[in-house]
């Protein structure tokens, strides 16, 4: 590891900074950023006009009830989606962990034969590939696909979050599994325990608190994502926001934005509180 790091050629930090600068400049040009238009008198006036039109929020009983129902739906999408993600991530992560399949302290006492090793390398490669595909497709694209498959409503939202976040968590879980302290594993192995029992008694007890922590953190990310998914018809606050924008219902829009704010803040606080307790 360190030998590899040392032999790798050292790039001058100035060269890296210059390269990144050029990349930013090229992207700035390519995206046609026009700060003049945004910050011109006309631009600022437009912003002012639109913001003024949002006020006051629609606090009628009907609008509030509608926002509350949508907020609860968004909450439920993010929660069920995150649980689904953890269920997808866990088995794939086990398959994406070299130290469980074929490498490291559990394989120093007995070499694997050629065929079993090839099979295990195959499992590893397949798990890594599936996880990569799940996570590189953004949740909004998954939502479009699932809306097409199962129709409008919160269900495609749940599936989209579960599949995308499953890929993200699977990668993180796999890294946690490979990083556990190997010394207890060596001790368990010396009692004659099989590898499956070593996973149960040595690897998972070290890894699960971090699994929970990562899953809770991704839940915070998912509550925001769940508010967006509605824009493509996958339920929750986003769907209401889309309708409010389309029908120029600015006062209701502000109510919905406030509902998103309250909900995200609550979930952030709840998740942070829970995470402090598992680690």
């Amino acid at each position: 590891m360190s030998a590899v790091a040392l032999s790798r050629r050292r790039w001058s930090p100035w060269l890296i900074v210059a390269g990144l600068g050029a990349l930013v400049g090229w992207s700035y040009h390519g995206t046609r950023v026009d700060m003049g238009a945004l910050l011109s008198v006309e631009g600022l006036r437009q912003i002012g006009v639109y913001v003024a039109r949002l006020f006051p929020p629609d606090l009628s009983a009907g609008a509030l009830r509608d926002a509350a129902i949508a907020a609860v739906e968004t909450f439920a999408i993010s929660l069920v989606g995150s649980v689904l993600a953890a269920c997808i991530a866990f088995p794939l992560a086990l398959g994406a962990t070299r130290t469980i399949l074929y490498h490291g302290v559990l394989y120093e006492g007995q070499r694997l034969g050629r065929a079993p090793k090839a099979l295990r390398l195959g499992v590893y490669a397949a798990s890594k590939t599936v996880l990569a595909v799940l996570r590189t497709v953004p949740e909004i694209v998954w939502a479009l696909i699932f809306v097409f498959v199962v129709g409008l409503g919160p269900f495609p939202g749940v599936l989209a979050l579960g599949v995308h976040t499953g890929g993200v968590l699977g990668k993180l879980f796999g890294e946690v599994l490979e990083d556990v302290d190997p010394r207890p594993l060596e001790a368990l192995q010396s009692t004659g325990a099989s590898r499956l029992r070593i996973v149960l008694y040595g690897i998972l007890p070290q890894a699960i608190p971090q699994f929970v922590s990562y899953a809770l953190y991704r839940w915070e990310v998912n509550i925001r994502a769940a508010a967006i998914l509605g824009l493509v018809g996958a339920g929750g606050l986003g769907q209401r926001v889309y309708v409010a924008i389309s029908l120029f219902l600015e006062h209701q829009l502000l109510t919905l934005i406030l509902a998103i704010y309250v909900m995200v803040t609550l979930v952030d606080a709840l998740s942070a509180w829970l995470r402090a307790r598992v680690l």
Partner: protein, 274 residues
């Protein structure tokens, strides 16, 4: 019990840990291994508990060439060898009871093992083992909340549950204070005597080795430097064993002056009380 002939271990990075080691240990023997750090003692113990394969040479356990063992046979052979490490060999997040009962993992089915994590079984057995090592009240404590010495006792309790024929202790007292070190070494010796187990111990401290063990193996540069009873070990031999290793020589100097860090627990040794 053990028969090693010309065992070599070369790691992937090319470093030679064992360079042609040969030795025989009979059933029920107590042997201490001493020598400078980096001499290959820990590698030797990993080969002896069958979690590391020698590069070449032969290792027989009770007459069986271990190179022929694999899968379930290899795991069964491991159940007859209990190992205690310097530290960090317990799962800190599990309760003590699970770490102790892990001594059963070579015998239990996976389903039994999983069930015991949810609802510990054989708790009276675990409690008895903990009582034997002097911390019966820690059964349901979280392991990472115990002190270093208490954790070492939990590791010993796990070996008691495993009930092996051989106990390997790799620097079991390097991270505890001197009084505790003496009590852990004597505990391991007494337990091994009671049930006629073979006891092999790596020791950083020459005093403890010479006081508590009838056979001393000096290891240097991956080979057996000497293999003697403690009364035959002379200060000159120890000088030679530790030549070029500064920190351990200070300890030897103190030994030569008749003092040691363990006080009365280690008697003055013949040849050292000049």
């Amino acid at each position: 019990m053990y028969e090693l002939r010309d065992v070599r271990k070369v790691f992937d990075d090319g470093s030679v840990a064992l360079d042609g080691m040969s030795l025989t240990v009979g059933a029920g023997e107590h042997v201490a291994f001493i020598g400078p750090s980096g001499a290959g003692k820990t590698t030797l113990f990993r080969i002896l508990n069958l979690t590391l394969r020698p590069t070449s040479g032969m290792l027989r356990l009770n007459g069986t060439d271990v190179a022929t063992l694999s899968g379930a046979d290899l795991r069964r052979a491991r159940t007859s060898i209990g190992t205690i490490y310097q530290q960090h060999n317990l799962v800190g997040r599990l309760r003590v009871v699970h770490n102790v009962l892990a001594g059963n993992l070579g015998r239990w089915s996976t389903l039994t093992a999983l069930g015991s994590l949810l609802r510990p079984r054989a708790t009276d057995e675990a409690a008895r083992a903990l009582a034997q090592v002097g911390i019966p009240e820690k059964l349901y404590a979280r392991t990472d909340e115990l002190s270093g010495g208490q954790q070492q006792r939990v590791a010993i309790a796990r070996v008691l549950i495993q009930d092996p024929d051989v106990v390997l202790a790799d620097e079991p007292v390097s991270s505890v204070d001197p009084t505790l070190a003496v009590s852990i070494v004597t505990l391991l010796r007494d337990i091994s005597n009671e049930s006629r187990k073979t006891l092999l111990m790596n020791l950083h401290s020459v005093e403890l080795a010479l006081t508590y063990f009838p056979r001393i193996l000096g290891i240097r540069e991956g080979r057996v430097h000497f293999d003697l009873s403690p009364d035959k070990v002379s200060p000159e031999m120890l000088e030679e064993l530790y030549a070029g290793h500064g920190d351990e020589r200070g300890e030897l100097a103190a030994l030569g002056e008749g003092t040691n860090s363990f006080g009365k627990a280690c008697r003055p040794l013949p040849g050292f009380d000049r």
